[in-house]
Amino acid sequence: MRGISPLRATLAVLASAALVLGMTACSEDKSDTPTALAVDDGATLTLWTRAATEGVSKAFADAYNANHKNKVQVTAYPNEEYPAKLASAAGAKALPDLFATDVVFAPQYASEGLWLDITNRVSALSFKDKLAQAHLTNGVWKNKNYAVPHTIDMSVMLYNIDLYTRAGLDPTKPPKNLTEFAEHARKIDALGGDVNGTYFGGNCGGCNVFTLWPSVWAAGGEVMSADGMTSSVNSNAMADVFALYRKLYEEGVAAPAAKDEAGPTWLGALQSGKIGIAPGPSVWLGLIEEKGVKMGVAPITGMTGGESTFIGGDSMGIGVTSTKAAQAWDFLTWTMSEDAQVEVVAKGKGVPFRTDFAANKYSSADPRIVAINNLVAKGRTPYAKNFNATYNDPQSPWIATFRGALFGPDAKKALDDGAAKLTASLQKS
């Protein structure tokens, strides 16, 4: 076996010592100096993001690098690994200059102090009120801003135009409430063969927060208190929504695989063209149509009407250990400009997070996109410090709760027990 030579080992130790000293030296000035908010002086900025939204970050970076002295380098990590990667980087005090996170995790990262306080910088923005407010609020901790919107992804009803026509339904008249949604799904399911009426992520925490909560909001209900500390998952409004999906699964209208769908094959199921209508992310519209499946888009509705959406996507802030805060802010301000919002986001069929750019030269070509963009104003982003541990993580109490409500022997008991467990998880320090 080859050993490590003493010389090498000594060098390694010296190098790590130098690194540690270097880091301490770098972490001195962390104040949010208002004198030079944004600087473009040829700095190289590191930017981390998760694979799911890598495309948007790269498009931003390419466009920015093309006409700025600063250069942004994007590194993407697999979605599941990303939180661990950030936590280890924080522990080593080696966070990147800029990093994005799922918007629902933003309060946790802000509370842990992983981002630089950018309250002054955000306040100085002339278009602060035009930023998607639900999204922006999730980057706030104790009245201080730590992150701004980076990408937006909303939950909508996606329906298959061909299957609608084949089932004798009018594809220009998507369901106006959940009862109609269930009727449409049943009619399409009756086509038989390998066609199914609907689909959902029955073993996926994030998916169901994203697709089911808007139905409760549309009906004027709540699933969690505004401070993210108390769950009301056992409210009638939520129980009714679960009961409807449960019935669709029991009747075989929802595809059997929906029960075990943990997320990875969700998109594939819709791309197969064999699902009639299902709630899902708005950004999938393009990905599904790439496979030659023509899709319609409609808002997610409540049991008897109303409409709402979950405004998801990513937030981005400046790593607290970065020494290039002003340069990083230059990039962030640019991502919020018309140049970026219209020429990068809207051109790439994305949703602008500036509400004043909802209607633009690219979106007006497709009425479905205008409909999606207009939902931004109606949507919500739930706020909770312990969101990940309570709802998204595979071991979260939310998954146990909704699986009990959708597939378990006693839905009511599952929701009552679940509410207590969810609240306990939300309040855990």
Binding site: V13, Q108, E112, G113, A255
Partner: protein, 281 residues
């Protein structure tokens, strides 16, 4: 004399340094972490015994501990039998034996996480090659199916490696002993029971220790293949540590579980070595 001891120390220094930096320091750090409220950034604060008392009201830990124990028993029994069986099959030089040895060992060359992903694709009803008329989910349809899939993966991935260790043990047994026993009229079963197994004891001890320690620390196969599901029925202890550290960002609590798990491992190893030493004396 003094010069020689200096040279000796110098030779040992690199190893001591590596062990110190990569093992002793992290070990002490984890112990210290478990006594503190340890934020990602900023100064830790001593909060002993909160991280330890907190373990008792974490329902997930009890379930995960029970599942990890069950998995360890199942996989150790199966993996040991399969690996020993394979080693016995390919121990003698025969035509084509090289091919089989290579074939059995080959899965070891695949990274474990990659192997788990391969199985995830293989067992997927969406993209996998196996299609059944009625829908079945091999990785989260039922707790037993999920465990079965993970066990199959681990057997495929690790049987060859353990076979190799046992093969070296088998080949270290002098042929004369077998010959002498055969001349005395020993049957094949007697040869196996009275000669092979006793002389293999140190090798068996090594293999069992590796298997049990590896299974108690199981993570990749469940993290990737079953995500701990369905309904937390395949959540291993290390997954709980991961959740505490990287999802809840509670490093103190994660360190406390690690310390307890380390204690269990030490106890197991001491018992194992004790039993085996006594028997071989």
């Amino acid at each position: 004399m003094q010069r020689r001891s200096w040279v000796g120390a110098a030779y040992a220094a690199p190893t001591a340094l590596v062990v110190g930096v990569l093992f002793i320091v992290p070990l002490v750090l984890v112990g210290w972490m478990s006594l503190n409220d340890w934020p990602l950034l900023g100064a830790p604060e001593i909060n002993f015994p909160e991280n330890y008392t907190g373990l008792t009201d974490n329902e997930l830990i009890a379930d995960a501990a029970w599942f990890t124990a069950k998995y360890t028993i199942v996989i150790t029994a199966l993996l040991f039998s399969v690996a020993f069986g394979l080693a016995l099959l390919v121990q003698h030089q025969r035509r084509g034996v090289g091919f089989f040895r290579t074939a059995f060992f080959l899965p070891v060359a695949v990274g474990f996480a990659s192997a788990s992903l391969l199985f995830l694709g293989l067992l997927s009803s969406e993209i996998g090659p196996f299609h059944t008329d009625t829908y079945i989910s091999w990785t989260s349809g039922s707790p037993n199916l999920a465990l079965g899939s993970a066990v199959t993966l681990v057997l495929w991935r690790f049987a060859g490696f353990n076979m190799l260790i046992m093969l070296t043990g088998l080949q270290a047994i002098p042929l004369e002993i077998y010959e002498a026993a055969r001349i005395d009229g020993a049957s094949r079963f007697q040869l196996f029971r009275r000669i092979t197994v006793p002389l293999m004891r140190p090798t068996i001890a090594l293999v069992l220790t590796l298997m049990i320690a590896g299974s108690l620390l199981a993570f990749d196969q469940f993290w990737i293949l079953t995500r701990g599901g369905p309904d937390n029925r395949t959540t291993s202890l290390v997954m709980v540590i991961y959740r505490e550290a990287f999802i809840r960002l509670d490093l103190g609590s994660a360190a406390a579980i690690s310390v307890v798990l380390l204690g269990v491992l030490v106890v197991f190893n001491v018992i194992q070595f004790g039993v085996l030493r006594r028997r071989s004396q």
